[in-house]
């Protein structure tokens, strides 16, 4: 009997494997797409940009084909792009395939970028094709480019990475230690797009507009509308950061959607507030004006201490949302030299941060209700738990009521550590002695 069982097992395994012989394909037969860009077309509905990896360059260490590890050490030559105008994504693939020796394969695509113009018109008609195909993975990141998607993808010429796919993977995870961006994958984006309790968000990407440090300007910074004398690190959107580098592509902020239509964008600072409220904030440096000497700044490395505590009261006509954000921080920089390590001074600093963050969160939340009318924080999840059946929940019509929501925000902020300095000693100045 064991012989029979083994034989049956072998037959089962063979039956699993042999059908694959019919449509066998070699890994080398494919051209791997790592980024997909979608813009409005000039002569057709869509302009499709595909960034393809050059495995031979990546494999040889980035310096050119067959270099055996020699040559350059960046990924700027490791990709090539194809642009086609097409009625849809997959018809574009068909057109692009016609000019290539290898078949395009989307299994390694890391990011799908929509131009802002296209996103504002609504992307449902394009994105609906994605969950049907097994090639595009649900973990692909979704981004909206402030410039054209084509320009953004062409600007991704990483110099620290040989593998451009790794660049996307790592660049879209920087929000974990900066808090200035997000990463929303297709799986979440698609669910949020169809959700009755949460609106979708996407990474805001762009091409930096400055060619040299001399060109830097604050025209596009959001610091002015916030009433600040100078911009803080998050008062920019993608493409506007005063930054000069060979790598022109950047991400900063997030795109806000209502259904499948983009209705607004947040800068880096507001994105930090978004991450804090949703509990996705990891850690990052946050700068505020020194509470005692306003012309100086204080920088703390702020971390999420615990998940935010949110509640929604739906008993009244308008939903009342309470948010308590719980953070802790380490002192990083005290420009003024004031001894904030002292317990009484530390309380002043904590209070200053609490007020700064509370005010920022309230401003951010009000933008989501008044300007965007989109529950991008997903407070609807909490409201939903108060209903017993789906019909009751749908009748409540959360997404329409969200615009009338009132907020009560509390920030619990504690400084835990002071870095490698426990006490700031004032700088000693030499006194000029009067001549005898």
């Amino acid at each position: 009997m064991p012989k029979k069982v083994c034989m049956l097992l072998v037959i089962f395994i063979l039956c699993c494997m042999l059908p694959g012989c019919y449509d066998r394909q070699e890994v080398d037969d494919f051209a791997y797409v790592i980024a997909i860009g979608l813009d409005k077309g000039k002569i057709n509905i869509l302009r499709l940009t595909l960034q393809l990896a050059k495995p031979t360059v990546i494999g040889s260490g980035g310096g050119g084909e067959g270099g055996g590890g020699g040559g350059g050490s960046d990924g700027s030559e490791a990709t090539t792009t194809i642009v086609v105008e097409t009625p849809s994504i997959f018809s574009g693939l068909n057109m692009a395939n016609n000019s290539l020796s290898k078949k395009l394969n989307l299994a390694h695509a890391k990011v799908m970028v929509f131009s802002k113009e296209l996103a504002q018109e609504g992307i449902e008609r394009y994105i609906n094709a994605i969950p049907r195909t097994r090639e595009i993975r649900p973990n692909i990141s979704i981004a909206v480019s402030t410039s054209s998607a084509e320009d953004y993808i062409k600007a991704v010429q990483p110099h620290l990475e040989i593998n451009p796919a790794k660049y996307y993977e790592m660049n879209y995870q920087t929000f974990k230690y900066t808090g200035l961006s997000i990463n929303n994958d297709f799986h979440n984006f698609y669910s949020q797009m169809k959700s009755t309790y949460q609106s979708a968000t996407a990474v805001l990407a762009g091409v930096n507009k400055f060619n040299s440090a001399e060109d830097f300007s604050l025209q596009s910074s959001t610091y002015d509308e916030k009433g600040r004398p100078y911009p803080l690190e998050g008062d920019f959107k993608a493409g506007d950061m005063p930054r000069e580098s060979k790598l022109k592509a950047e991400i900063m902020g997030l795109a806000v959607f209502n259904g499948s239509r983009m209705v607004g964008e947040l800068d880096g600072h507001e994105t930090t507030m978004h991450l804090m409220v949703t509990g996705e904030y990891g850690h990052g440096f946050i700068t505020i004006p020194d509470p005692i000497r306003k012309d100086y700044t204080v920088v703390l490395e702020v971390k999420r201490s615990r998940n935010p505590v949110c509640s929604v009261d739906i008993s009244g006509e308008r939903p009342r949302i309470s948010v308590k954000v719980i953070l802790e921080a380490d002192i990083q920089t005290i420009q003024s030299g004031i001894e904030y390590e002292k317990p009484e001074n530390m309380k002043i600093l904590e209070k200053a941060y609490e007020d700064f963050l509370r005010e920022s969160i309230i401003k951010y939340l009000k933008r989501t209700t008044e300007e965007f009318k989109s529950d991008i924080c997903g407070f609807g999840k909490i409201a939903k738990a108060k209903f017993l059946t789906w019909d009751e929940w749908e009748r409540y019509d959360w997404l329409n009521r969200y615009k009338d929501a009132e907020f009560n925000v509390e920030v619990d902020f504690k400084i835990r550590r002071t870095g490698l300095i426990v006490s700031t000693v004032p700088v000693t100045l030499s006194k000029e002695k009067e001549a005898p």
Partner: protein, 369 residues
């Protein structure tokens, strides 16, 4: 054959648990969401409780018929006519489900892996496994099931635990989903998800004792209830309602979501192993029982000569639905809604008639004496 072959509780429990749970890898989690919305997992628990209660009734009625299968009991209830009617109903049911399942497995295989391969070519390989299993006999299938059931379970749980970053427990609210009526009244028909219990009524002679029969029934319903409930719950936690209604093969899509760091991703191959193994076991076991039921119903000496004719029949029927949606709807709209009548009601009716006949004959015998 039945008198010579005996298998233990573990083997029979494994076989039945695989037969009941294999639908997880097809459209089961989506089907539950369609029926009960966010209350899908509640519906499965409710169906499992009902299945347990009905099985308790059936096992109570079964007690005088130790070592007999439902076709033998059909014979006791209605003579040759009773045996043929009972056997034919089971035969039609098994042919229907194996044909639809064969098409579904082949179509899904084609969608996810073999895009270019013709559907008949894919089906032929499944058919080869089914034929091989049927030729080797029930003992080989059952013992292989006992070996592979843990592999399938491990694969399934690894996939569902691997997507823990996507779990969001707020997604199960509103807890009653599409409402009390849909879960507790219309949801009654969903006991059909445990319809594979009818195979237990066919393997009773191999289990010998009533105790084994009862333990196998309760344990297999219990194990599959855990697997089915877990799959429905994770489907809601990961995919959200109403987007979860769109997903074909939710467990495969879960496997695609696994992305633990930059090193542990693309685990669909795990799914492939669990899915293909459970598919082959399911199809070959059910296919074996087509031949077995036919032999018993029509009192044939051997079952092997009918394997190839039935393979041809199943293959032909499986290719009749014009597309995958029709094949899936056949399973969802007809099989999963009405098959409880064959799995639970028919055995109860047959057992009641047989008991009444036995009682009547005993009373008659006593009066004559």
């Amino acid at each position: 054959m039945a008198s010579k072959i005996v298998f233990g509780k573990w083997e029979s429990i494994s076989l039945l648990a695989v037969l009941m749970s294999t639908q997880i890898f097809l459209g089961f989690p989506r089907l539950m969401v369609e029926a009960a919305g966010t209350g899908a997992w509640l519906l499965v628990i409710y169906a499992a409780v009902l299945a347990m209660l009905l099985f308790a009734v059936i096992s109570k009625l079964y007690s005088p018929f130790e070592g007999k299968d439902i076709i033998d009991i059909g014979g006791l209830a209605g003579g040759n006519a009773g045996r043929i009617i009972t056997g034919s109903i089971f035969l039609l049911y098994l042919i229907f489900i194996v044909s639809v399942s064969l098409r579904e497995y082949a179509e899904n295989m084609r969608i996810i892996y073999l895009n270019v391969t013709p559907i008949s070519f894919v089906e032929m390989f499944f058919l080869a496994g089914m034929i091989a299993g049927a030729f080797m006999g029930i003992e080989s299938i059952v013992r292989l099931g006992a070996i592979l059931a843990p592999v399938i379970a491990v694969g399934f749980f690894m996939i569902t635990f691997g997507i823990y970053p996507y779990y969001d427990f707020s997604k199960i609210f509103p807890v009653l989903g599409s409402g009390v009526n849909n879960i507790f009244l219309r949801g009654f028909s969903k006991i059909s998800v445990f319809s594979a219990i009818s195979i237990l009524f066919l393997i009773a002679p191999f289990l010998k004792t009533n105790k084994n029969f009862k333990v196998t029934g309760y344990a297999s319903i219990g194990i599959s209830a855990v697997m089915l409930t877990w799959s429905s719950l994770i489907n809601i936690l990961a995919f959200d309602y109403p987007a979860a209604l769109e997903r074909l093969m939710p467990v495969f899509q879960m496997a695609r979501l696994v992305n633990l760091g930059r090193f542990f991703q693309r685990v669909e191959s795990l799914f492939m192993i669990a899915w293909a193994v459970s598919g082959f076991l399911y199809l070959s076991a059910v296919f074996f029982f087509i031949a077995y039921v036919f032999r018993k119903t029509f009192k044939l000496e051997y079952y092997r000569p009918v394997i190839f004719p039935f393979a041809t029949l199943v293959f032909t029927i499986s290719l009749m639905p014009p597309n995958v949606i029709t094949a899936t709807r056949l399973e969802i709209d007809y099989f999963r809604n009405y098959v409880w009548i064959i799995s639970f009601v028919l055995p109860i009716v047959v057992l009641l008639i047989a008991r009444a006949r036995i009682k009547a004959s005993k009373t008659g015998g006593a009066e004559n004496a």
